[in-house]
Amino acid sequence: MTAYLIRGASILGEGVADVLVQDGRVAAIGATASDDTSAVVVPGEGLVLLPGLVDLHTHLREPGREDAETIWSGTRAAALGGFTCVHAMANTNPVQDTAGVVEQVWRLGRDAGWADVRPVGAVTVGLAGTQLAELGTMAASAAAVRVFSDDGRCVHDPVVMRRALEYAKAFDGVIAQHAQEPALTATAQMHEGLVSAELGLAGWPAVAEEAIIARDVLLAEHVGSRLHVLHLSTAGSVEIVRWAKGRGIDVTAEATPHHLYLTDELVRGYDPVFKVNPPLRTAADVEAVRAGLADGTIDVVGTDHAPHPREDKDCEWAAAAFGMTGLETALSVVQAAMVETGRMTWADVARVMSFTPAVIGRVADQGRPVQVGEPANLTLVDPAVRRVVRPQDQATASLNTPFAGMELPGRVVATFLHGRPTVLDGALVERAGASS
Amino acid sequence: MSVPANTAASGGDPVEILGAGDMSRALTRIGHEILERNHGAEHLVLLGIPTRGVPLARRLAAGLARVEPGLDAGALVGDLDVTMYRDDLAHQPTRSVGATALPAGGLDGKVVVLVDDVLFSGRTIRAALDAISDLGRPRAVQLAVLVDRGHRQLPIRADFVGKNLPTSAGERVRVLLSETDGRDAVLLEGARR
């Protein structure tokens, strides 16, 4: 296996040192790294070296909606975005609610080879919210599922949620809740507030999210289980999670890049590229989510990468699908929202986009420190570049990025997956023999 | 057709073709010609075409009333907005629609004298004739203009002309009226001396 010498990069934005990647591991750091003169040199001067990013929240759409994304195209997008591990959400067709389906997804990911694909198992059969799926069998399968979610739908029934939280303890699983009270959001189209009142779009009240989070943290406390809150989007949700952590409840929370950067004002043009679940909130909510991420109330950034075919967005607002792509812009958005605002360091970015997601997902060989002997899952970022997002240039099979036309900072220069480069010079490294 | 007052002269200083006195004499003469041609003011209706045809029609009517005792100038005169009958709407910025106000007796059986400031292509008068046919059936329609500058694009001629003014197509004729512009004058702009 070819050795690579990443020369002169700043590790986690801190000390500058050469890093030798060999046989899938970090073989040497510092002066001894350049002893191997046969290594391919990857210039890293002025760049930041991060652990490979880990996404707990990716919709790869396969099986079922290969017109929007495949595991192949989605993991290529992940590699370009600096990710070495993605968690594939369960709302595929068929739903990832059996060992057979999660193993299929896991194998397709392994065969594609662009990023480690960790399937998320459905909490309930068919995401229907009534009967627990075979969580234990999925956990014991080759896919070794540890994260369970009905994402896209809320596990609404409090009894079902309680049972799921309890049951997952047997195999150290975590229930990742999509917090959305369905009755309060039956016809909801966007955040309920000043903008929805004016646009005449049915409102999605913040309380519909907050009420479920409040209930779930209390359930998690009651049964002593761990709970993960997906795409938390309101100031009230941040407050509730902060309170729960203060009580010692085993809860972790996620924010998406778009909820760190975009507001409901963007809906004014009725362009469905801004239609997402949970909806874009107000500037005050964005500020609260940023503050929550900075102070550790929110543990991770998850992309909620949700590709959709063009016809599902090229239509009137009410007819459009919810969701935005995010794998190829996530790191840039976090840099813009958190690093350039002085709220977080690159080491913090490594924490919320790599170390902690891997801990929550129980992924042993991802999200590891950049140290000798650790798996060489690495991402090399040029923070000085500014680029305009062009949907057509992305590797994801869908065009629905809300950042289209926006200038964002930072670019992933190289990504290493278990010692092998998936991205070099900002471009995918195609492999002979690999196919879609 | 009147040229907007705010249009800048395209070259050369404006030349005054008619002064206030000239204009007043021309209107008086036109008034007499109208009475002569129609054997008096009976059945006569003067319709001014906005913008400057409207005050001109009022002045003509007042002039007729001075000559013909017992004639009510107000009952004689009306406004005819032709905007919605123009054939050039799609080639111009949106024109605002003006008001049409007819004398109480309507147009049926009347002799209508259309009044405008400048006769140029004839298209405004074509529009006016269409508008009149939607409003009633006059016995006859005649045309009075302050200035005829030539360059007709349609087979239309004026019955009463204040001043025949040969122009080149690139020149502009501006009619100023005290009612709308603060003074009476006819200017030729863009003229080469």
Binding site: A197, L201, W317 | M84, D134
Partner: protein, 330 residues
């Protein structure tokens, strides 16, 4: 004016121009020959995804009075109901040479998408979208208010005037009403004061940013002596389980305009309703048929206002941008 998408896009001068143009159009409609050649050769498509015979007929009459060719495209029984998208429909109409598309759609923002997504080059006139906007309804309401309550009152149109100093109460289902949204914006732009009257469940969250007062008590507002009361249609399906109010009778007791409340209005005040009316629910027969009710006149004024709007979006040369462009913020 390239499109008319929202009453909020109109400034005072534009709104007054539309009302003045409507006055000129209305004058032509008193003649024996009502048809004008103005839009000869232009094609107006009435694209109706929602049933509304009244609005469609009003636009159709307006377009025909201006000699435009009119194509009525109803979603019912067409390819639209077979799943054809708004985009495909728009592109079909574009290929047929539609100069203007008058669109009624159940989805808020559909006209905005039609105008700005690049699906059609024609002018777009919003004839009501979801619970968002119904700008021509607000314009005809403003026109009716101006005729009755400004200047000489009831006689000639007070050309050039706005609605400064008037107080209008808009009563009923504000939450779901595109008529209310358009009227709040337009009447405010024209200088009138608006009070919204509704049970709290029928007022949207976020209403505090609107240019209107809100009251939950119709009788209190009537005591303020409004110059006009505009009753909104209340849909019976809004009641019942999880509904917005307990019963039609309770609604009528609190918010219905009946003979007793009618008598409390100032003598000059007028009663308006965008139609169709639910007699006995939001308005009693006494109020609907009272002398001061201008409901029928609103319908007639609708034709003049829509003639004015079609004239202003279609008659002029297409301007690249600048001040005439409406709804340009995408």
């Amino acid at each position: 004016m390239k499109h008319l998408l929202s009453a909020g896009d109109l400034d005072r001068a534009q709104a007054v121009t539309i009302l003045d143009t409507a006055a000129a159009m209305a004058a032509t409609q008193e003649r024996q020959i009502k048809k004008l050649p103005t839009l000869r050769g232009r094609t107006v498509v009435n694209l109706f995804f929602e049933d509304s015979t009244r609005t469609r007929i009003s636009f159709e009459t307006a377009a025909k009075r201006l000699s435009a060719d009119v194509i009525n495209f109803s979603a019912k029984g067409s390819s639209v109901s077979k799943g054809e998208s708004l985009k495909d429909t728009a592109q079909t109409l574009q290929a047929m040479g539609a100069d203007a598309v008058v669109i009624r759609h159940h989805a808020s923002g559909a006209p905005h998408r039609l105008a700005h997504a690049g699906w059609t080059a024609g002018a777009v006139v919003n004839a009501g979208d979801g619970t968002h906007q119904h700008p021509t309804q607000a314009l005809l309401d403003a026109y009716t208010l101006r005729r009755h309550l400004v200047g000489l009152r009831g006689g000639t149109d007070p050309v050039g005037h706005d609605l400064a100093g008037l107080h209008v109460a808009i009563v009923g289902d504000v939450l779901h009403s595109r008529v209310a949204r358009s009227n709040v914006q337009l009447l405010h732009t024209l200088g009138a004061r608006v009070t919204l009257v509704a049970p709290p469940t029928l007022v949207p969250v976020g209403v505090e940013s609107w240019t209107a007062d809100v009251s939950y008590h119709l009788d209190d507002v009537l005591d303020q002596g409004p110059d006009a009361v505009m009753m909104l249609r209340v849909q019976r399906e809004r009641m019942g389980g999880g509904g917005f109010f307990p019963s039609p009778w309770e609604y009528t007791r609190g918010y219905g305009l009946d003979a007793r409340r009618l008598a409390r209005l100032p003598e000059h005040a007028i009663v308006m309703h965008p139609g169709p009316m639910n007699r006995g629910l939001e308005i009693s027969a006494d109020a609907a048929d009272a002398d001061r009710s201008v409901v029928v006149e609103q319908v007639a004024n609708g034709v003049a206002v829509r003639m004015a709007v079609l004239y202003l979006v279609l008659a002029g040369q297409e301007q690249p941008t600048v001040d005439g462009q409406i709804g340009a913020s995408a």
